[in-house]
């Protein structure tokens, strides 16, 4: 029982990280139809810069951790905004080329990270409390899982509030629904595009810092590995659906954990099988339209 509970909470913690990547991917795809292969790079950049800041301020201090989260989010946001402005926007409405540009960017940037930080993983420790465990009904749960879950929940809440309560949020929601109508009403959706990229990049950068604590290391391939699961999450949840991404993140991560423990380490395969089943029964995903 305690094992199952541990797996469940660890799974939700991993799901929180998936969600931080998938939320941006899903919003970007929903509004712009772009599959952003560079999203993993936003995450890696956030993780690396967060790591650099944390090592300079002292990894075991809460201040260092908080600043690394902030720096990670900021780095992801700035990089994402620049990517959108200078690469993606030039290829307006040409979806395949937009994908290709992000693929090339991801390739070049991962190689650059290899050159700067080396291919070997860099190990990182957080504040003392995050390295210990808490007893929950007989299960010893590592505390960094709770931090990941809380941060992801706050991000979900913030994005939902932003989408529902602000004018820009309304434009983005309307754009996801029917972009040509929004354009026809005389609203310049291009700013909304940049905004969505920035939000997605910030969430991914935040996810990068949390992922480096969850897995205990930073490496140039961290983002690319998580990106593939984030893709699966967005397809299962329904492309363009934020809530779908949240639900699917947790489902995918928990399934992965349980399959890894009870089915001889087949977690990754179980996720792909789930994807195939969802595609065969509901091609538009759990909460997708149509």
């Amino acid at each position: 029982m305690s094992t199952a509970l541990l797996l469940l909470i660890t799974g939700i913690g991993l799901g929180a990280i998936y969600f931080l990547v998938a939320s941006g991917l899903s919003l970007i795809y929903g509004l712009m139809g772009v599959l952003n292969f560079a999203h993993g790079v936003f995450l890696s950049l956030g993780a690396f810069l967060g790591y650099e800041v944390a090592t300079r301020m002292g990894t075991s201090t809460w201040g260092g951790f908080a600043v690394s989260l902030l720096v990670g989010a900021l780095a992801g946001a700035v990089f994402a905004a620049l990517t959108e402005r200078f690469l993606v926007q030039r290829l307006y409405e040409r979806h395949i080329e937009q994908v290709l540009v992000t693929v090339g960017l991801a390739l070049a940037t991962v190689a650059l990270f290899d050159g700067i930080w080396g291919t070997d993983p860099r190990f990182i420790t957080g504040p003392g409390w995050m390295e210990t465990t808490t007893r929950v009904a007989g299960a010893n749960v590592p505390n960094d899982r709770f931090v990941a879950i809380i941060v992801a929940a706050l991000v979900l809440l913030a994005i939902v509030l932003f989408l529902r309560r602000t004018r820009y949020g309304m434009i983005i929601r309307a754009g996801v629904e029917n972009r040509s109508m929004v354009t026809a009403l005389g609203i310049d959706v291009r700013n909304a595009f940049t905004l969505v990229f920035t939000i997605g990049g910030a969430a991914a950068g935040l996810g990068g810092v949390l992922a480096s604590h969850y897995f205990g290391y930073v490496s140039p391939l961290l983002g690319q590995t998580l990106l593939i699961f984030a893709f699966i999450v967005t397809v299962i949840g329904g492309l363009g659906s934020l809530l779908g991404a949240a639900v699917a993140s947790v489902v995918v991560a928990v399934l992965q954990q349980f399959a890894n423990y009870y089915l001889w380490g087949t977690g990754d395969l179980a996720v792909v099988v789930l994807l195939a089943v969802v595609l065969l029964t509901r091609p538009s995903g759990l909460l997708g339209r149509k």
């Binding site: 290829l91 390739l107 070049a108 091609p283």
Partner: protein, 361 residues
């Protein structure tokens, strides 16, 4: 008349020249590591030809049918690993094992293609990526100790004919790779000019219209998908023999991305573009890695040294620039230059953003 001549004579001359290369003593400093008859150069050229054939199969998927797959490496890796494992575990000879792997490849491609083609466009890209990732994980995890995990799989040389093993026999492998490339080029041309190829091109442009005409896009796309995948399986097998083994990179998404890079670099929709893109890519990635170790690069300040010593950074940057500023790739550049010369600067034909038709060249 002149067009027919270049169309048929040029490839024949090229193939004859390439066939004779292992017997000649030509040096291309900066491109090849040594004279053309040395094993090192032959190996590099054979690798470029295998990659060119693989890029041609990707051209069939992406250039003809418009299917942006991120899982093409799965079939390449399947060919390499399955052949090695079958020969070792069942102690089969090369030919029966290869036939068995091809049959299994058809079954695998049909099954996975049928599932992934339930979605189109970007979701298709994600789904193929997920399947390939599952394959990649499987190979790395090494269930039952058959794939060799990160270390890779060694070619069971005792089941391979003697004339294909050993450094001195590199030229035989070179001829094998050349034959594979010529065969693939012929098959891809045939598929592209068949009824299925034409329907696939029509589906790429407007699927709804094809459906209205009473045809079934799904079956045509599946046929193209299976054809491209089986070619990839075959190339995986040649690659296994060429490199005397297989490593997990053969199944990775990185390999598919490099295929995409080759096809886009050469010019989407053009067969010669795919071949050219692959050759340029293979030579560049080899030569840039050598260049990175040279004193000209290693003495530079870090700001310049780090980016320039990463071949993938340079290739990725070139790729981004091609996508942004050279939509037709190298083939499109050729068409554009020829057009500019013919019309003396008056209204050069701009090749379509993604479709540079082979027939116009």
């Amino acid at each position: 008349m002149r067009a027919t001549l270049t169309r048929y004579a040029l490839p024949v001359v090229l193939v004859v020249l390439l066939t004779g290369l292992p017997l000649l003593d030509l040096s291309l400093p900066g491109v090849l590591p040594g004279p053309t008859y040395t094993p090192g150069s032959l190996h590099l050229m054979a690798l470029a030809m295998v990659m060119a054939a693989l890029a041609l199969s990707y051209h069939l998927l992406f250039g003809v049918a418009g299917l942006l797959s991120f899982g093409h490496a799965l079939y390449f890796g399947f060919g390499a690993y399955a052949l090695g494992i079958l020969m070792r575990e069942l102690e089969l000879g090369l030919v029966p094992a290869a036939l068995l792997v091809l049959a299994a490849g058809v079954a695998l491609a049909t099954l996975l293609g049928a599932v992934s083609l339930r979605v189109t466009g970007i979701p298709f890209a994600m789904v193929t990526l997920a399947f390939a990732q599952a394959g990649s994980v499987l190979v790395r995890r090494d269930p039952g100790r058959v794939t060799g995990g990160e270390e890779g799989l060694r070619l069971p040389t005792e089941h391979v004919p003697d004339w294909l093993v050993g450094v001195a026999d590199t030229r035989n492998v070179y001829w094998l790779a050349l034959a594979a490339l010529v065969f693939t080029f012929a098959v891809v041309t045939w598929v592209q000019h068949s009824r299925a190829g034409h329907v696939a091109e029509a589906v790429r442009e407007n699927e709804l219209r094809v459906r209205v005409l009473g045809m079934r896009p799904f079956l045509v796309k599946l046929a193209i998908f299976v054809a491209a995948s089986v070619i990839a399986v075959g190339m995986g097998m040649v690659h296994l023999i060429l490199n005397s083994g297989a490593v997990p990179h053969a199944v990775s998404a990185d390999l598919t991305i490099s295929l995409l890079l080759m096809v886009v670099l050469g010019g989407v929709g053009s067969r010669w573009g795919a071949v050219l893109g692959a050759v340029v890519y293979v030579l560049l990635s080899q030569r840039l890695a050598v260049l990175a170790q040279s004193p000209a690069i290693s003495d530079l300040p870090p700001v310049l040294r780090i980016p320039l010593s990463e071949p993938l950074f340079i290739l990725g940057a070139i790729f981004v620039l091609v996508v942004l500023f050279l939509p037709g790739g190298l083939a499109g550049l050729g068409v554009r230059l020829r057009g500019a010369r013919r019309t003396r600067g008056a209204q050069a034909p701009t090749p379509g953003s993604l479709v540079a038709e082979d027939e116009t060249t």
